[in-house]
Symmetry: C2
Subunit: 209 residues, 2 copies
Amino acid sequence: MAVIRRLPKYYRYLSDLSDAGVTRISSKELAMKMGLTASQIRQDLNCFGGFGQQGYGYDVANLYSAIGEILGVDNSYPAVLVGCGNLGKAIALFVQSSQSPFKMIAGFDVASDLVGTSLNSIPILHSSEIGSFCCKNEIKAAFLCLPTESTKLVVAQLYEKGVRYFCNFTHYNINIKYKDAVVENVHITDSLLTLCYSMNAKNCEENEA
Amino acid sequence: MAVIRRLPKYYRYLSDLSDAGVTRISSKELAMKMGLTASQIRQDLNCFGGFGQQGYGYDVANLYSAIGEILGVDNSYPAVLVGCGNLGKAIALFVQSSQSPFKMIAGFDVASDLVGTSLNSIPILHSSEIGSFCCKNEIKAAFLCLPTESTKLVVAQLYEKGVRYFCNFTHYNINIKYKDAVVENVHITDSLLTLCYSMNAKNCEENEA
DNA sequence: TAGATTGTTAATCGATTAACAATC
DNA sequence: TAGATTGTTAATCGATTAACAATC
């Protein structure tokens, strides 16, 4: 649902507003800040209940905590990182630093110079231990930052042990085989090529003129 | 347009098929592999011309190179990286390694222990030089991997020197102020919270039962 | 009371799916 | 010719926008 994908954005903007000391905001103002329409914001927020007040607007602190609760930001789901290269490292630090709803409790890799070391206090184990580790620790979520070629096998192991939530930076399409897996794909290559398309289209325009 | 966002995906899958030695494919088969409908694929591809052949399907090599041309993958746009921390580093290597349409020619940072070093042969300069560097090298595209707080100022400098294409990993909303900037936002925090929402929603379901 | 702004319904728009004639 | 599969049109679905009555 498109609304749900916008909730984290609302949450971010409300956090900023709150930090800036703003206590109330109208859908119109928020729309301008976010680049949406006021109508859409009212429609979106009403999916989850009447948070606003006619003639007044929305109470920033109220709305912020309400959306936080809908998203479940106060959770601390234990998660694992598979692939501890540059991207994996960045993601791990990312997950640890911001008040994230995930707690990275282990990293996995096959590189012998990484196994046994740690990533900002997260231990890096050998990938052969993924299955037993996830089983023992009742892991539900995994971050996949490994090469696409190795992903199929890793996902099979994770799924078998009950992992159903994936933040997937690889190009392996998890949902084809595992219909009930919940997957957030982050395909940086696709963003790159989309940007490239725009530059290319612009070029063509200019050449025509 | 939704179709354009799918082009990079088609391109990826066709590349894989080509590597696997597949020479032709029907919309039906491709749909299954990609998790789309055959109808959608035919509709999408027809936006750019009749690449298929009735009764036969699509020629993989043909379609691959046609989409590559539409995307403009053979370009090599010079680009800069702003923010050379863990994420920036991962992105830089990313852009360099895969046959990417961008060529990262410089990185910028304010950290004195980074300035003067290099990132896989890309020189890291001090952020104060961004403007003059981009001007001199006619840079059109920038990758933003710096803290959100510093981004406003950096974008102002880049925009002033003619940069109009941004791959933005920060939470600064470029298009609010710069309407004609073309921006690909990659908001990992949002993906994280969306995933969290799903886990949370599942939990609630279970508690109700 | 008057002004502001929401909640909510209706209208519009765009994207996806279904169907089928065209054609290889 | 018969079978397969596209190109393309029409139908459906969902999401966005506009409008306005309700109400603080």
